[in-house]
């Protein structure tokens, strides 16, 4: 096996996927052919994969099919599909579970995995049509499930949350499991205008990158005051010097609502925007408030078609503790899916849909009251379509004469009939 270009990637301190795959090629010959095809890509700067739809019966997603254009030359990778497996919330595993996945991956496929894919799934690479089915069966038998793809709800990734983070303002792992299980049908049987991604982060640090990469980010926040341990503040100020604290904590506050008075921190919580910076830097002394919940946002997406969008605020605060809270949360989600599902165009992400119909119309459609938290600022253009006055005109009077000046009332009747 000659791989002069790829061999160069075995050098260097960073772990080398080439080295790893070469080892694996000794056990699984298809991995050798995978490397040979990749070497050819490196030579020609050209890709040799074709994608198409292939599904497990009853499912509309979860399999990424790949056929090689060089199937004759490299028959072992002629079919080289990927299975998306729903990950464990928070990406936590036992070695026992992971070993099971390794076994299935090697028993049926190339024994290559990616932990994790962009959407959060576990990716298992290198199955042919037949083995793909068998592997799926083995996964499901052992309690694993396939992830989403296509125009459905996608697998939901979340941050580590309360499992190992003091900043988590709600149980991200629980919500991930709850939503995945509740809406598993929407995940497996795509019926939306386009994909719908949740990403869940426990606080504004947004470790799940939800703002720009999900249609519906759910981000932990709090309503009351930041918790301050003044003794810890004093220790921190003594250790770091007051000037350092002013330069790197208080003066970094986006709304300048935090002040250092001697060795005490004072916060004007009415102006705090939950940006997390002071808590991040002084996490020994500061912590999110106690009245915690989530902000639901909407509309983030990546570039394709209409350009980048970062999500915008939809529900500024929603409690997420009791079962009722969870149901209220889901009611909002379902109203969005109904409205977008009915009026969205094919291949139109929910953010693009909102841009097309207007946020005001969207709020009407999903039954949420406008709130100034939703905007960076109110409109600056004066072109407002006042409905209070348009409505009676449209419903009551005959439309054709409504905006015509009257000269002679009798003549107007003439063309009312035409």
């Amino acid at each position: 096996m000659k791989l002069p270009l790829l061999d160069q990637l075995e050098e260097g301190p960073w772990p080398s996927f080439v080295k790893d795959l070469k080892e694996q090629a000794k056990r699984r010959p298809q991995v050798g052919q995978l490397l040979q095809q990749l070497e050819q890509s490196y030579e020609n700067r050209w890709d040799y994969w074709r994608g198409t739809a292939i599904n497990v019966p009853g499912y509309g997603g979860g399999i990424i099919a790949r056929y090689s254009d060089l199937g004759e030359k490299f028959p072992q990778v002629a079919q080289f599909h990927t299975i998306r497996v729903i990950e464990s919330p928070g990406f936590v595993y036992s070695t026992e579970a992971l070993r099971q996945l390794c076994d299935i991956s090697e028993d049926y496929g190339a024994g290559i995995m990616q932990l994790h894919g962009m959407t959060g799934d576990i990716l298992m690479l290198g199955f042919d049509n037949e083995k793909m089915m068998q592997a799926s069966e083995a996964l499901m038998e052992n309690g694993w499930d396939l992830g989403g793809s296509g125009n459905g709800m996608r697998t939901i990734p979340c941050c580590i949350g309360p499992a190992r983070c003091e900043m988590a303002c709600y149980d991200t792992l629980r919500l991930t499991k709850y939503l995945t299980d509740k809406y598993i049908g929407y995940l497996h049987r795509p019926e939306f205008p386009y994909k719908y991604k949740f990403k869940l982060s426990g606080c504004g640090n947004d470790c799940a990158n939800s703002m720009s990469r999900s249609d519906m980010p759910v981000i932990g926040t709090w309503r009351d005051d930041i918790q301050v341990d003044q003794e810890a503040v004093a220790r921190f100020v003594e250790e770091m010097e007051p000037e350092w604290v002013v330069r790197n904590v208080t003066s970094r506050c986006p709304t300048r609502c935090i002040h250092l008075h001697g060795d005490r921190i004072e916060i004007d919580n009415s102006n705090c925007v939950r940006c997390m910076h002071c808590i991040n830097v002084m996490h020994l002394a500061l912590a999110p408030g106690k009245d915690r919940g989530v902000t639901m946002l909407i509309g983030g997406k990546r570039t394709v078609r209409s350009g980048e969008m970062i999500s915008s605020v939809l529900v500024p605060f929603q409690k997420l503790e009791s079962d009722e809270d969870y149901l209220a949360f889901c009611a909002i989600v379902e109203r969005i899916w109904d409205f977008w599902g009915e009026h969205g165009n094919e291949h139109e992400r929910v953010g693009e849909f909102i841009d097309r119909v207007g946020l005001g119309t969207f709020l009407d459609g999903v039954g949420i009251e406008p709130d100034p938290q939703m905007v960076a600022n109110p409109r600056s253009n004066p072109y407002i379509k006042f409905e209070e006055y348009a409505a009676p005109r449209l419903e009551g009077e005959p439309q054709k004469g409504a905006n015509v000046l009257e000269h002679e009332p009798d003549r107007r009747e003439d063309y009312e009939g035409s």
Binding site: F17, W49, P57, V92, T95, L115, E137, W144, H277, S306
Partner: protein, 358 residues
């Protein structure tokens, strides 16, 4: 293995994470008080119960063979009660039981896996990346290879925390740009409209191909008696949306595709809100297997960032403060007309003030 019964949807849903939580995590779920960094890649979380949980973060290349993964499991069994966790940037997190285990664990990670420990705090974080030539059907460049080349170059920066703030990097192998908003992004850039294989177009649904184009540049056409499409070259902006819909519209071109570098993206609402990344430089050759030009460009950005940023400033926040004029001056990248936005909301990027650095 014979299928025992016909394959049917099971709707198993997500695995039960509770089974996989480290015992210390389970005991202290939602009761964490604070955390401390012990050294790059190693930190401890303190619980209200007084219990401590140590974490050792190791960089992985995302792509792992089953045997390698089993070796990962062996280590977790030995030190971490058989539990482990992954991060969204493809690091593996080991949770040793005792502080004394940290060093032997790190030694073993290095010896057995060859993985570095780091990628936390104010370091060069692991690069999230796409599939590239290894497994994607649309890419114009590789992903894993660029990542390997870059992280070799910035290995020191991964294992140390010497930047003013964390540096997150992503790569994307086509303009679909799967990589997300990061401090520095390396993306593929096409330079001309798609080339149409009229013989193959018939396999695609023409109305869908036409409607996918964001700038209405695709029109129905007839060639030699067959229904096909044509592309209006002046309107096309080489986004490749049609290529994903219909492979007969080939957007890729090994000769002309180049790489571009984008800076200043951020997802967190920390301090200033999230921001998009902006074009820094373009036209870098797609040069496997080591892409040295890309590495140089990233190095230039990081050098300027390291020298100019205040503590806690992300790349985008630093540029916001010193201004784009200084960014271009300090990196030496040329500012061209291609840096000026021409797409939706382009006007909102123009400088509508007399705030000018001269």
């Amino acid at each position: 293995m014979d299928a025992k019964k016909p394959l049917a949807p099971r709707d198993n849903g997500a695995p039960d994470y509770k089974k996989y939580l480290h015992p210390a995590m389970e005991r202290n779920y939602g009761r964490w008080k604070y955390h401390r960094d012990l050294r790059p890649g190693v930190f401890v979380h303190e619980s209200e119960s007084g219990e401590s949980l140590y974490t050792v973060r190791a960089g992985s290349p995302r792509m792992l063979s089953a045997p390698l993964l089993r070796r990962v499991c062996d280590i977790a069994d030995k030190y971490c009660q058989g539990r482990l966790r992954f991060t969204s940037r493809n690091n593996i997190e080991f949770q040793p039981e005792k502080e004394e285990d940290i060093q032997p664990l790190m030694d073993e990670i290095s010896r057995v896996l060859g993985f570095p420990v780091g990628g936390s705090g104010h370091s060069f974080h692991n690069i999230i990346h796409t599939q590239g030539w290894l497994h994607c059907n649309l890419p114009g460049t590789d992903a894993a290879g660029i990542v390997k080349a870059l992280l070799d170059m910035f290995y020191e920066e991964f294992t140390h925390e010497n930047f003013p703030q964390r540096v997150k990097v992503s790569t994307s192998c086509c303009t679909i740009n799967c990589g997300g908003q990061t401090d520095i992004a390396i993306n593929l850039q096409h330079h001309h409209p798609p080339v149409i294989d009229h013989g193959m177009v018939s396999r695609c649904e023409l109305p869908k191909v036409i409607s996918i184009c964001p700038v209405l540049a695709i029109r129905p056409d007839r060639v030699e008696g067959h229904d096909t499409v044509e592309v209006i070259e002046e309107k096309c902006m080489y986004c490749g949306a049609c290529h994903a819909q219909c492979p007969a519209l080939e957007i890729r071109d090994g000769q002309t595709d180049t790489l571009s570098i984008w800076v200043g993206g951020k997802s967190a609402s920390t301090r200033g809100g999230p921001s998009f990344m902006k074009l820094a430089t373009w036209g870098l050759p797609n040069n496997p297997p080591r892409w040295p030009e890309v590495g140089d460009a990233v190095r230039r950005i990081l050098k300027a960032y390291q020298a100019g940023a205040n503590p806690y400033e992300r790349v985008g926040e630093w540029i916001e403060r010193v201004g784009w004029k200084n960014f271009f001056a300090e990196t030496g990248f040329e500012f061209t007309k291609y840096h000026i936005d021409s797409y939706r909301w382009a006007r909102t990027t123009f400088n509508t003030s007399a705030h000018v650095r001269l």
